[in-house]
Amino acid sequence: MYNERFFDTKDSKEAVTLGMLPPLTIRPSRGWVSLRLKDLWEYRELLYFLVWRDMKVRYKQTVLGVTWAILQPFMTMVVFSIFFGKLAKVPSDGIPYPIFVYCALLPWQLFANALTASGNSLVSNQGLITKVYFPRLVIPISVVLAGLVDFGISLLVLLGMMFYYGIVPTTAVLVLPFIILFAIATALAVGLWLSALNVKYRDVHYTIPFLTQFWLFVTPVAYPSSLVPEAWRILYGLNPMAGVVEGFRWALLGKAGGVGMLMTVSVLAVTILLFGGLLYFRRMERTFADIV
């Protein structure tokens, strides 16, 4: 039962100094904080389970199920091919227009879906955020990764189309994984900013659809970046998705001129955006549970 020693603080102070494990200290954090990526590594299993959950429930209670992953880019490709390819006669760097646009739609949809999902991820997981501790970064990262499944499925369709058009990828295809990683990094970079902002300002929720729509037009999905005057190419690269989409085409179809400069600028832009997003996210993280 109860023991008077509970209040003998002198005793316990000694114990603290003798303690072998350093304690976890909870205190108010001030100013900018470290990224604590090690903490994130410790919660990698949780990340795995959250990705797994999102994949599992994604097409629950739908009739078409995983077919949606193919239908969306495919139907968009058909519409674009008819209106931009056939009627507007948009050039396509000598590649058949359908595969030209489908090849761009894949990384684009990966990006757009990941952006939407991660932007809303903290708010839709507020039940977790207010009830249990884990590095909050796990949430936007997990929804971005979950989007890879759809991407993988629609990639199979692309391979089928390449076979149909008789396009054989060059050795450039080896760069593809890096381009995909780059697309994810881009989505995450923007998603981190939006998700953290969304916790406080729900305006973000309404901004996202508009943002993705607007972004689609400034990205060379329906048209090649070669339409953009040479002098503006570097500025154009500041839109990282320009680099992603052109890089993706180059890696798979092998025929896009002058991607190098565009890519370099895009990689730089994403690096800055991602790092800033991480810092901003970590700084805002401490108040998520209070204001979400």
Partner: protein, 439 residues
Amino acid sequence: MGDVAICVENLGKQYRIGQRKRYNALRDALSEAVYTPFRWLSQFVNGQSAISNEQSNGIIWALKDVSFEVKRGEVVGIIGPNGAGKSTLLKILARITEPTEGYADIYGKVGSLLEVGIGFHSELTGKENIYLSGAILGMKKAEIDRRFDEIVAFSEVERFLDTPVKHYSSGMYVRLAFAVAAHLEPEILIVDEVLAVGDAAFQKKCLGKMGDVAREGRTVLFVSHSMAAITRLCERAILIKEGRILEDGPSHRVVSLYLSSGIGTTAERIWPDRNKSPQGEIVRLYAVRVRSEEGHIIDAVDIRQPLRVEMEYEVLKAGYALMPHFAFYNEEGVLAFVSHDLDPAWRRRPRPKGLYVSTVWIPGNLLSEGMFFVHAGLDTIDPVIPQFDECDAVAFQVIDNFDGDSARADYAGDMGGIVRPMLKWTTQSRLNEFKVGDL
């Protein structure tokens, strides 16, 4: 390893009332940014301090100057009225939210259990949810694999493991959720009012599990409104009110202080909201009251005086014979006795719809001194269908003064015991020339 598990120093948490608004619009932030310089200017001109500005902005301290220490293996209950800051304290220790000032040192792995069913997804099956929820609560996959069978056995939902939990009854859902949580194995466990769910039998099982955890020598911080649970599980309790520690000591002492100060459980509980009252399909509980012999609502009674406890309930569906009952627990959580209604007026008779009041009369000189917690329950008979079983519905205190005419007689010390009846004593005497055995 040292013997301290948690050391909290001057912990404080400040909320701006505005922060608790559902959401801010960007527009507000923009207008704020525009107006702030002007406000500073006007303050400067008027000579106002920044502090008064803070106050007008509605800053509240949910927690202030909280310091305490918990030893390894100690089970500490945290009690206090709603809004006292108990949950805020737990959230800080569980690292969900940051303190505004002060610090807490934590020695060991912390597991927190602030809600039952965290991370459950209604579309996933029971089995999938065990893994998901386990991972969210901080268990490794290997750990879940190892304890999977145990978790399933505890939850009693074996047959529905491959059914999405959206098809579960609420009871099954809660049992599964608690089963996962109960098999967490942190060195320090932080638990918020999670036992207030499920049916009575399952609550008992959960309490038993909590007791096991405590006996295994793990450190537990436990918030509850059930004083019986606190006294049963915790050797020490901390009373918090308005963000500050009011009392810290042996749980039975802190609990009775809390109850006698009138900030805790009361002698009368009413559930005016139809949807929130304890109920079954046939009967819903409306109120439980403790009354003196004369009918006044009282929260303390002289040990020599009789008292009565009543439950008021509404029969929603006619045609069932009912059996109301009360269970009386003392402040250590020991069951003193259970009493069933045996008034012939309605006994074994199907009842029409309507309001009823069933009262039990407790004679004077029966219960021992101290706090008693009354559980109010009601079943139908034939067939037996439990309707409600409300733990700690009301509480009252029995006071034994030193007037010399109770079972205490002239003894002034702590007597203990659950009951303190006045029994007949005789003392015979033979003062001259006696032998042992003569009497």
